[in-house]
């Protein structure tokens, strides 16, 4: 069983193993800054993996999943505001709130499809965004400064504890997703993506599966948001701005949306570009070193126009052609 999962999801396992040993690398070469970058990679990657359940496997283009990250983050922030420091409790709160919200929003949004679904998910995200902007008690637009939460087994102010907490949650989520995708549920969800009426004709109710997928993805985004709050030591509506929903989609499509590891690969590339493009531009064209997006934007368009299947797809087909060449 374990070996089976390993064979099927090799890339994901390799990434997880590299992430597990990455701090050794940074401490050897004294690059603590990169731990921070990798923590962001893991957090955004986790949220994108959650979104990818509906997006890549279920074929539902949700443009509002940053809202669930925001709800998760505010669960941590608001709990702490009232003196509830226990991080595990906050994670539970995030999961429960995002689950309930996911059921409500999913139930209403899944009545529509196509462009209307994209837009209604965006509408709900905007609603939540402005809801948190309106909460003056918790800082409104300016947000809420907070301490890292108190996770009983991980004192987050010790070096690397936060890193391994995030890693632990990411690894747990990844393994559960591996099982989920190969389960009956996962197979039916993917079947709905390729042909919904056939699934219906088989006597299954597609809405039930789509809604379940939506709720699971909402919960994972909520967990990521809750940890994000501890990482950032700050919560503001900015975390759920609609452009972050866009970022999550970019991450998924960059990595390859039909692969479980795709969103993680995408997150690595996305955040590395964000870190390295300014440096690169600084060397090549110093006057525009701050404007790395002028390269990044066209890069996205190029990925869409020429790179079908994202990086995972490109790597996969390269490997395959190489293998074919060896055979012949």
């Amino acid at each position: 069983m374990v070996l089976d999962l390993f064979k099927k999801f090799t890339t994901l396992w390799i990434i997880l193993i590299v992430l597990a040993f990455f701090p050794i690398f940074t401490s050897t070469f004294d690059l603590p800054f990169w731990n921070d970058v990798v923590m962001r990679i893991m957090l955004l990657g986790m949220a994108a993996m959650g979104l990818n359940i509906v997006f890549g496997f279920g074929g539902m283009v949700s443009f509002g999943h940053a809202a669930f990250m925001g709800v998760g983050a505010y669960c941590a922030g608001i709990s702490q505001y009232y003196g509830l420091d226990n991080g595990w409790y906050q994670l539970l709160m995030s999961a429960v709130s995002c689950g309930i919200l996911g059921i409500l929003i999913g139930f209403l949004a899944l009545r529509t499809s196509g462009i209307y679904f994209i837009m209604i998910t965006l509408a709900f995200a905007q609603m939540l965004y402005f809801f948190f902007v309106s909460l003056e008690e918790f800082g409104g637009d300016d947000g809420l400064i907070m301490d890292r939460s108190d996770f009983i087994f991980f004192d987050l102010y010790e070096p690397l504890r936060l890193y391994y907490l995030i890693f632990f949650i990411l690894a747990t989520v990844s393994i559960m997703l591996m099982l989920l995708i190969r389960s009956r549920f996962g197979v039916i969800l993917q079947a709905i993506k390729s042909n919904e009426s056939r699934v219906e004709a088989m006597g299954l109710n597609p809405l039930k599966f789509k809604l379940t997928g939506y709720v699971i993805s909402a919960i994972i985004c909520g967990l990521s948001g809750c940890l994000f709050a501890s990482w950032q030591e700050f919560v503001s509506p900015d975390i759920m701005h609609w452009t972050r929903s866009g970022d999550l989609m970019i991450i998924i499509i960059l990595g390859g949306l039909t692969y479980l590891a795709g969103p993680l690969v995408g997150a690595i590339v996305f955040l590395l570009l964000e870190e390295l493009l300014p440096d690169l531009l600084h060397v090549l064209f110093p006057p525009i070193s701050e404007n790395w997006m002028i390269i990044f934007g066209p890069l996205l368009i190029a990925v869409v126009l020429f790179g079908k299947g994202g990086l995972m797809g490109v790597m996969g087909s390269k490997l395959k052609t190489a293998a074919n060449r060896e055979k012949t």
Partner: protein, 307 residues
Amino acid sequence: MTSTLLLEQIFNGLQAGITLFLIAAGLTLILGIMDFVFLAHGSQVMIGAYAAAAITIATNNFYFGILAAIPITFVCGYLLEWLIIRHLYGRDHMDQVLATFGLILFFNEAIRIGFGPAALFTNFPSSLSGFIEILPDTPYPVYRILIILVGLLCALGIHLFVSRTRVGAMVRAGASNPEMTAALGINVKILFRFIFAAGATFAGLAGMMIGPLTSVEPGMGEPLLILSLVVIIIGGIGSVRGAFIAAILIGLVDTVGRVMLPMLFKTFMSVSTADTAGPALASMSVYILMAVVLVFKPTGLFPPKGA
């Protein structure tokens, strides 16, 4: 006092709604006819505003700025369609979202490099800075009245064009059934490019006109884009008439709510809480409206026939 303020806000709402309509008119056709999720429409607004502002500053003539900016936005839309957009028709919605998101990033950064991150300020000429009394003792700025009039004129023009001309008939046919339209021998490619460029021009015009009222800055188009998407969804994708009604509705709800909700809240909340909660809840109300419409009419209020 309150009724004067209310009347003023209703006019502001109309002005905002008309502006939204100019942006949404092209976008609803792009979404409806080409089935294309075009997120960079807000950038067209920005391009229009910048072109007008830059030319106005250079020549010191507001009217010349507007007149010169109109063809610039048309050419921009035309080139954009020809270079990039036409390769993306028929692709997945998510591909379109991603590519046009990339365009937004590109345009915002290009403007930031070209004009700097700070906002450009232009003033409309003094002949337009007066007030008209719309009711006794209720002065209202001439410039905003002018925006409403120009917008209504454009709306009328678009309406007549779509409902009375031969090309308009092709547009309507395209909105209800693109494949059949193509099968009837209509050159859909040219039609698409024309609609796209025209839509860009109207969005640009909206940007040019609101430029002096708001700040002309990178990223100014995105809030407007999101609102005009709401307009399009409420009105029904592909319906210009629906977009018009929904735009006025959203403009009024957003503007009037922004002023009236804080006043309402102050009756039972502390002043500072009401000042934070009011405008945010007014912004929320727009999306609540949209969600309610979609839940009861999943294809909007006025879906084009046959869609």
